[in-house]
């Protein structure tokens, strides 16, 4: 059949004109006739049909009819609908009509071959080719395919006949007609021997195919037919939804966040699917569209609630989506699906569930009142009539979308920058604080370390045998005479200067101390000599800061030697002590607590003798080392320069250090060893 019909799909140039030859152009919709001729032809056709209905069905065999119809088909205008062919074993209610129909065909053929094709106001449809292709791809036996095709053609013609019939039309009748055909096809597919080897899925796909083909081809007849009120309902519900634009998610007890951009995107997806329902022909595709829409809603709710959404969340969300989508021809679409899809499809299955939900949503929208939205009746009426102004976040977001969006984005950015700024400034202040703390900590630590480990002047413990050596050494030096004298004088001088600096006088002890003074000096020198020969460490302890910091001291101390008397000497000593005093004072703090051998004791020694002079000097003279040295240089020319020469050489200076006067404070420390020293000291000088 299809092969016979296919070449006719091409229309020649001559076919553009009306086939009656009236000169006007014909249209394919009118079977190649101009509108005037088409109307005339249809009138004739209707009359003929009535006539045949009266006369009854012809008795000719179906095969003959099929052959005849093929013969008589005009090649240019064949439409590939072999509805003339029937299954021999038909016994459904449609059979009678079918037979009548073939009889009509025969009659019309007798009347004129050209009019046959006008039986169907059907357009050659490119989708038909697709369906044929799909039919071939169905994994059912060829026998089954043939039967399926026959059924399709039969239902096709039945629908067409009903739509073009003269009797009063009822959409329910039409629906029943289609549903009966579905039942029959389902019966054939499941029970017919030609489908025996087909799998369950293939059977289902065959039934689906049947439905899809018939519904797509007859969409224009069955969708919102003129004898129903579908269109009115469409307009009504659309108007109603427009009136209800003030409804927010809150009214519906719905968890959609209207202002969240992510949620909005998902709502948009759902809306576009819902609106897309109208653009499909077959009920299955419309249901699939609904299914996708609902899946988007579930996705949305899953993100909003954190778990699989129940119907408690889903239905309000769907109502919200329907309200915001306001799809066109809502009722027509719903009714089309309800009437003409396989009943099981809307009664069961996931799509059926979603479709039921959609129907409930529409029902809810149509009948909702203030109570069902949780607001008072008066408020509802006011909102519906537009008297009460409202602001819906959804609409406002839609209207001011671009600019508001930009503003909010910029605001967000500004906020972010502000935050960053604040962070930076706070970091800066905290860093400053940290720096201050660090500084304090460092100073504190240094202080504690200093407090813990002060520069301690330990008493020099000279082994007894060394003292003897030292004495001997000194003796040798004494031979030179110069050193001996020098040492003695230096000793006295130092004690004097010390008394000046400390300034604390104990007259009671003075006599005793002065007696000891000479002895002390000698011992001090010995004590200082010993490190030079044997052990440098105590010497370092003693002299580290004053000597190495102020190398000039050495020079100064040496300078003093030649001129043992006079102002310069005293001055120098004063200055020297001023320099070394700070260090010595440390020692005093701790080592003096014993009170037995500090320099303080010794300082009291000879205070009477040189007190006035030394005191004034130490006060008036600035404690600068340089000044004192220059002074000393000026005052004592020859020895100053002579002694100055070796001073850069440290070891030699160190050796001389022993004789420098300012070391005297350490002499007192030796009092610990005093008894032994005293014994030896008494021996040695003599």
């Amino acid at each position: 059949m299809s092969k016979a019909a296919r070449p006719s799909l091409r229309l020649g140039q001559q076919d553009l004109k009306c086939r009656t030859g009236c000169g006007f152009y014909g249209t394919p919709q009118n079977d190649g006739l101009c509108s005037m001729c088409f109307r005339d032809v249809r009138c004739v056709q209707r009359k003929l049909k009535q006539k045949t209905d009266e006369t009854g069905p012809g008795s000719s065999s179906t095969s003959q009819i099929a052959a005849g119809s093929l013969e008589r088909r005009s090649p240019q205008h064949g439409h590939g609908h072999g509805h003339q062919v029937k299954k021999p074993e038909q016994d459904t209610p449609g059979t009678l009509q079918k037979k009548k129909f073939t009889a009509v065909l025969q009659k019309t053929l007798q009347a004129g071959a050209q009019k046959i094709t006008q039986q169907r106001g059907h357009v050659p449809d490119p989708t038909e080719g697709q369906f044929l292709l799909q039919l071939r791809q169905l994994r059912i036996p060829d026998d089954g395919k043939r039967k399926l095709k026959l059924e399709i053609q039969r239902l096709d013609s039945e629908i067409w006949k009903y739509m073009n019939g003269n009797g009063g039309k009822n959409i329910n009748e039409l629906s029943d007609l289609v549903q009966n055909a579905y039942t029959k096809v389902s019966d054939i597919v499941h029970n017919d021997p030609s489908f025996e080897i087909a799998t369950n899925e293939d059977r289902d796909s065959a039934i689906d195919f049947f439905e899809k083909v018939v519904m797509t081809q007859n969409h224009k007849f069955l969708f919102s037919p003129y004898f129903t009120t579908d269109e009115d309902s469409d307009v009504k519900v659309q108007k109603r939804i427009r009136q209800l634009s003030w409804i927010t998610a809150k009214h519906l007890d719905c968890s959609i966040d209207e202002v969240n951009s992510e949620a909005r995107d998902l709502v948009y997806n759902a809306i576009s699917e819902l609106v897309g329902i109208d653009s499909y022909y077959s009920p299955q595709e419309k249901l699939q569209c609904t299914w996708r829409c609902c899946r988007h809603i579930f996705e949305l709710l899953k993100r909003a609630t954190g778990g699989p959404a129940s119907a408690d969340d889903f239905l309000p969300a769907l109502i919200f989506v329907v309200l915001k989508a306001n799809p066109v021809r809502l009722h027509s679409n719903i009714n089309f699906v309800t009437r003409f899809t396989n009943a099981s499809r809307v009664m069961s299955g996931e799509s059926g569930y979603y479709f039921t939900n959609l129907c409930s949503a529409i029902a809810f929208i149509e009948y909702l009142n203030g109570e069902s939205l949780g607001i008072s009746g008066e408020e509802f009426d006011a909102l519906m009539s537009g008297q009460q102004p409202y602001s819906s976040p959804w609409e406002s977001a839609l209207l001011g979308c671009e600019s508001l969006h930009l503003i909010s984005e910029n605001m967000k950015r500004m906020e972010m920058l502000q935050k960053k700024n604040a962070l930076i400034s706070s970091e800066i202040t905290s860093f400053e604080k940290k720096l201050i703390d660090f500084q304090r900590e460092v100073t504190e630590r240094v202080d504690t370390v200093i407090a813990k480990a002060p520069l301690n002047l330990l008493p020099i413990k000279t082994p007894a045998f060394l003292i003897g050596q030292a004495r001997a050494h000194l003796h040798n030096e004494n031979e030179a005479g110069h050193y001996q004298a020098n040492m003695l004088s230096g000793g006295t001088l130092t004690t004097q200067s010390l008394t000046d600096v400390v300034g604390s006088v104990k007259p009671a002890m003075a006599s005793e101390d002065s007696g000891l003074s000479l002895k002390d000096t000698s011992m001090g020198s010995m004590g200082r000599l010993s490190p030079l020969h044997q052990n440098l460490q105590p010497a370092e302890h003693l002299f580290a800061s004053p000597i190495f910091n102020y190398t000039a001291f050495d020079a100064v101390s040496l300078l003093e030697e030649p001129s043992s008397e006079g102002n310069t000497d005293v001055l120098m000593l004063g200055s020297e002590f001023q320099g070394g005093l700070t260090n010595i004072n440390y020692d005093f703090d701790l080592s003096d607590q014993s009170g037995e051998n500090s320099t303080a004791d010794e300082s009291k020694l000879n205070l009477d003798e040189f007190d006035p002079l030394a005191q004034t000097d130490s006060i008036t003279q600035p404690p600068s080392v340089l000044d004192s040295t220059t002074d000393s240089l000026i005052d004592s020319e020859v020895p100053g320069t002579a002694v100055l020469l070796p001073s850069p050489l440290k070891p030699e200076v160190a050796s001389y250090r022993g004789f420098s006067n300012f070391d005297i404070p350490s002499i007192s420390c030796n009092t610990g060893d005093f008894s032994s020293l005293g014994q030896e000291g008494t021996e040695a000088p003599k």
């Binding site: 499941h190 579930f298 959404a309 129940s310 119907a311 408690d312 569930y353």
Partner: protein, 219 residues
């Protein structure tokens, strides 16, 4: 009683319909509608039954409003198609759309909530009046794990259920108590010989009537 609640639904039905008739199982598909006030745990109950879980949802579970589960009772594969309904009072009037054509219904109430029990009673009344006459109705007192703070007494509900010819169990979606049992009880009570035919579903008994046991129908 052979109960395998988590057997693959699709394969079960497929096997039953193999035309060569090697399978002795027949399969039925039933539409079960869940009714009850919101927050009584309708969807938790179903999720426990279908996924065997409470709170820990699988990533694949997109929604709990429509779920299917297949169970085997003796030699029959019973596929439940569970339709959840919105429990809010404002959506009450839409319920008939859902239970139209349903072969079974579970009316759920919360044993801690007297109102939900009263709502359940109205649902039962409505079902008796408007649903298909041989619908199997079960009453489920959910949240039985919290029975120490119950408001609705077991005996009271039991008595009501007996008076109205309902199946009755107290369930707990949290612990799983009685969850499978209530579905099994429904499945046993449902007429399995014509369950599939009732709604013209594509799943039909396939000439296996000769192998059918005598006790196919409990009612």
């Amino acid at each position: 009683m052979a109960t395998t609640p988590r057997s693959g639904g699709a394969s079960g039905t497929g096997a039953a319909q193999r035309p060569n008739g090697t399978s002795q199982n027949k399969s039925c598909q039933f539409k079960l509608v869940l009714l009850g006030e919101s927050a009584v745990g309708k969807s938790s109950l179903v999720l426990r039954f279908v996924k065997g879980q409470f709170h820990e949802y699988q990533e694949s579970t997109i929604g709990a409003a429509f779920l299917t589960q297949t169970i085997c009772i003796e030699d029959t594969v019973v596929k439940f198609e569970i339709w959840d309904t919105a429990g809010q009072e404002r959506y009450h009037s839409l319920a008939p759309m859902y239970y139209r054509g349903a072969q079974a219904a579970i009316v759920v109430y919360d044993i801690q909530n007297q109102d939900s029990f009263q709502r359940a009673k109205t649902w039962v009344k409505e079902l008796h009046k408007q649903a298909s006459p041989n619908i199997v109705i079960a009453l489920a007192g959910n949240k039985a794990d919290l029975s120490n703070i119950r408001v609705v007494e077991f005996d009271e509900a039991k008595q009501y259920a007996e008076e109205n010819g309902l199946l009755f169990m107290e369930t707990s979606a949290k612990t799983g108590m009685n969850v499978n049992d209530i579905f099994l009880a429904i499945a046993k009570k449902l007429p399995k010989n014509d369950g599939a035919n009732n709604q013209g579903t594509s799943i039909r008994p396939n000439g296996n009537e000769t192998n059918r046991p005598t006790n196919n129908c409990c009612k």
